[in-house]
């Protein structure tokens, strides 16, 4: 790859030669800057990690014990080998950051995963002017338009109430890191008790420690065997769907909270009772608003609909190309990492 840019794609990930560091590398390197703690961006085995301050708690939980993790407050500049680094909110999950890299008057930004819609559990996406913008494109097709968060949660609340009337427990599934806590912040806790799956519980504690206000919850595992679940909302990762873990609840209505639920086939394939459209990624319009706001002269497109997104941007007069990274984003497959 020609190096008029600060960043280049190597077989280990996005690399800044001048600063000798990687952003979200997928193979062990010496110095890694991590945009956020989801498994396809934060991998094991790096000698040094650098992440945002609010991301640190969650990242520590997910990396091996004793990992060398350093954190930087949003907006604070750190110099690495003469290259200026700063981290800026990406609005994806707690602590998610865009990495701003500046060297000799040139600015490049790696967005990681991001969304432009509001989310009470993390700092809002901050547009940054740059020469090169590396964007995700998980939902980079014009079939994805997110409804208002408030409408989605009104539907979730109504579903929960209706299940209560029918004597059914309500199981809301979403990624354990990010989506589960956003769900918790969005539902109306006055409707009934809320219980968490173990995998959601520990990450939720990290959110609380980081100062995110979340309603009171119990732990599924700690309830007695004969507990009556029919009034409760249960929040769990998608992997519990169809597993024996569900047996204890008796009659239960299942729902999945994801951007993929915007497409009928994906929803039916899940075989859940309800699909609620709520994503921690930007929708089609959000992606384009974010890209335009950077005023970047060049855009690199990673994970998702990279080819379609790049072609469309080029037709709109923005110089763009797809990038073959190992980021998987939020995949529409049953075997999510979280």
């Amino acid at each position: 790859m020609p190096t008029s840019t600060l960043l280049e794609l190597t077989d280990r990930g996005l690399f800044c030669r001048a600063g000798d560091f990687f952003v979200d590398p997928w193979r062990p390197v010496e110095r890694a800057i991590i945009t956020h703690a989801h498994g396809d961006h934060a991998r094991w085995g790096m000698q040094q990690y650098l992440c945002s301050v609010p991301s640190e708690g969650v990242l520590r939980r997910r990396m091996s014990e004793g990992a060398n993790i350093e954190s930087l407050p949003y907006g604070e500049v750190r110099e690495i080998n003469g290259v200026k680094i700063s981290l800026h909110p990406a609005g994806h999950i707690l602590g998610s950051a865009q990495v701003r890299i500046e060297h000799q008057g040139r600015v490049e930004v790696v967005s990681g995963d991001y969304k432009t819609d509001p989310d009470p559990t993390c700092a809002p996406f901050e547009p940054i002017k740059c020469h090169l913008f590396v964007t995700e494109s998980t939902f980079g097709l014009p079939i994805y338009h997110w409804p208002d968060e408030s409408e989605v949660f009104a539907d979730v609340n109504a579903w929960w109430r209706s299940n209560q009337l029918q004597g059914k427990a309500s199981l809301l599934m979403g990624y354990a890191l990010g989506k589960a806590q956003r769900a918790l912040a969005g539902v109306d806790p006055s409707i009934g008790p809320i219980f968490l799956h173990g995998a959601v519980q520990s990450l939720t504690e990290d959110y609380r420690r980081a100062g995110v206000a979340l309603p009171k919850t119990g732990l599924v595992m700690e309830q007695p065997k004969d507990f009556a679940w029919s009034q409760s909302l249960l929040i769990a990762p998608p992997s519990v769907h169809g597993s024996v873990w569900l047996r204890r609840f008796g009659d239960v209505s299942t729902a999945f909270l994801s951007g993929w639920m915007a497409v009928r086939g994906a929803r039916r394939r899940r075989a859940v009772d309800r699909g609620f459209v709520l994503s921690d990624h930007a929708d089609w319009a959000g992606l384009h608003r974010a890209i335009r706001a950077t005023e970047a002269e060049e855009v690199w497109v990673t994970h998702g609909y990279t080819a379609a997104m790049s072609r469309y941007l080029n037709e709109q007069g923005i110089n763009a190309k797809p990038l073959a990274t190992h980021f998987e984003g939020e995949q529409d497959a049953p075997e999510e990492a979280t």
Binding site: P142, I143, V263, R264, G265, R268, D273, Y305, P334
Partner: protein
């Protein structure tokens, strides 16, 4: 329109039939009769024909969404459903649109489309799309493209109507027969109180057989059992009462209209008779393969030609009512004697007796069963001679002893996206077998894989595509699967020159290389047939 779209969503989002029925019942109870009857007719498959040409629809959607054509195609590829793709690429959430009833939308917007030229259709559609929310748009697009389908059968619709009206299911099914217009008056008639008409149309609940897993000798003495062929057709009851004939399928669906020759049999029977048996396509004094009968199933209009090409016969195997008396508690041997006498005395050529398979011992019966495939039957039925006619699937007195399926190792050569739940996944496969050093297409199969395996094969297809022809992808011939099927016929549909019945995937064979797959010669020899 909002209520109807919500009903569609409620039905579409659940796999539980009770929830589907509840959703329909709530809808029927809540809306005026003119809406309810339209919903009934759409839900049972009397959907409008395609009113707008597909290329026109795409052109206008691309224009309204202000997208390049290629990007629309990408979207369609991701979703796999045109109505939904259009609904999703269009912006707007129905702002400014007034809420109108389903009846209003159908009479003011849908039906007029048929008489409009394309320019007017375009104008009408662009306005409609703007006024509807995305989900309403989707349902609307389904209606105007003649592709309105949702996961309920007529049986479930009838159950919902019955819940609301307290009218018995058979009465409703009967009232829905024949020609009717979707008017509020018809809906009122449909749900009006039953005045005894259900009694004379009603079939008996069907007795169903269990599959025999072990050896038949475990059932006891051979002479305690009646052995018949297991006919491969449509299970039905002919009910003749009060001078009227009703032909019922096993799903309590009235199928009289689709089989006039079977109704003719019923018309010749005395009042107070109910026969249980199987409808078969019949020619040259033997059953024709099920594929022939399939040509008649699902056809609403029967042409003279189809009636001549695929004549239907009834093979009767039980007599449930005689002289108005319910015989079900009588032992099979006695019902059978009456049935034999009845069929012998009838002068109707297409009423047949399901004859006993003549084999004195279990060993002899085993030998006979091996000839089942040649006789175009699925195997042997075993029925205990001293048993009453039971309701539903009860273990013990009726057993089906099917012939084992044939299996072949074949190579995946083409894949197409599925529909519905499987839209956007490659789930419909065409398999090849070897002929003179080349893989020739041999069978299509859709079912048999687990969801996880489907994802695995989908990934393989996407990563190993050689060519795309529209929705079909040619893939690298690498994946071997074991196919099971029931029979074989000469056919021009596949390059191999044969077609198989009931093909399904028995399992993936990752242990096999494509060169290990079977050849046409093996397949033919396996069947003892000649090419």
């Amino acid at each position: 329109m909002r209520d109807f779209a919500e009903l569609y969503r409620a039905i579409d989002e659940t796999n539980r039939t009770t929830e589907k029925v509840t959703a329909m019942a709530q809808y029927f109870a809540a809306v005026p009769p003119e809406d309810a009857i339209l919903a009934v007719s759409f839900l049972i498959g009397r959907r409008p024909k395609r009113l707008v040409k597909r290329p026109d629809l795409i052109t206008w959607a691309v224009e309204a969404a202000d997208l390049p054509q290629w990007l629309f195609d990408e979207c369609y590829d991701a979703i796999g459903d045109l109505a939904e793709t259009i609904a999703n690429v269009l912006q707007g959430d129905g702002e400014g649109g007034e809420e109108h009833s389903l009846n209003w939308w159908v009479s003011e917007r849908l039906l007029p489309l048929a008489k409009m030229d394309p320019a007017l259709q375009r104008e009408s559609l662009l306005a409609t799309w703007k006024e509807l929310s995305p989900y309403e748009r989707f349902v609307w697009n389904k209606l105007i493209t003649g592709s309105f389908r949702v996961g309920v059968s007529q049986e479930l619709v009838v159950r919902a109507l019955s819940q609301v009206s307290k009218v018995p299911v058979p009465t409703l099914a009967h009232r829905l027969m024949g020609n009717w217009d979707a008017t509020p008056d018809f809906f009122r008639y449909l749900i009006a109180e039953d005045e005894g008409e259900s009694h004379h149309s009603r079939p008996y609940p069907f007795c169903l057989a269990y599959a025999l897993e072990g050896e038949p000798s475990s059932l006891g003495e051979r002479n305690e059992w009646l052995a018949e062929w297991k006919w491969d057709g449509i299970r039905c009851q002919i009910v003749r009462r009060n001078g009227e004939t009703f032909v019922w399928s096993r799903g309590e669906e009235l199928i009289s209209e689709r089989f006039p020759e079977i109704v003719a049999i019923g018309n010749s029977l005395p009042d107070g008779t109910a026969l249980d048996g199987e409808i078969l396509a019949w020619g040259n004094d033997r059953p024709l393969p099920f594929a022939e009968l399939q040509k008649r199933i699902g056809r609403k209009v029967l042409t003279k030609k189809i009636l001549e090409d695929v004549p239907a016969a009834m093979v009767a195997f039980d007599l449930l009512e005689w002289n108005g008396e319910d015989l079900r508690v009588q032992p099979l041997s006695e019902r059978r004697a009456l049935l034999e006498a009845l069929v012998a005395s009838e002068q109707v050529g297409n009423l047949k007796l399901s004859k006993a398979v003549p084999a004195a011992t279990w060993e002899a019966l085993f030998e006979e069963r091996l000839t089942a495939r040649e006789a175009n039957v699925e195997g042997v039925m075993l029925k205990r001679l001293d048993s009453p006619y039971l309701v539903g699937r009860k273990k013990g007195s009726w057993w089906k002893w099917k012939i084992d399926p044939l299996t072949v190792d074949a190579v995946l050569i083409y894949a197409t996206r599925g529909s519905g739940k499987r839209a956007s996944l490659y789930t419909d496969y065409t398999f090849g077998i070897w002929r003179e050093g080349q893989l020739v297409s041999f069978a299509k199969a859709y079912s048999g894989l687990t969801d996880a395996e489907i994802l695995e094969v989908d990934r393989f297809v996407r990563n190993n595509t050689l060519e795309k022809f529209g929705p079909v992808r040619t893939v690298k011939p690498e994946l071997v699967m074991e196919l099971a099927f029931e029979g074989i016929q000469v056919s021009t549909r596949h390059k191999s020159g044969v077609a198989v019945r009931f093909p399904r995937i028995a399992r993936l064979r990752p242990d096999k290389k494509p060169e290990d797959a079977d050849s046409l010669e093996t397949v033919l020899s396996l069947l003892g047939a000649k090419a």
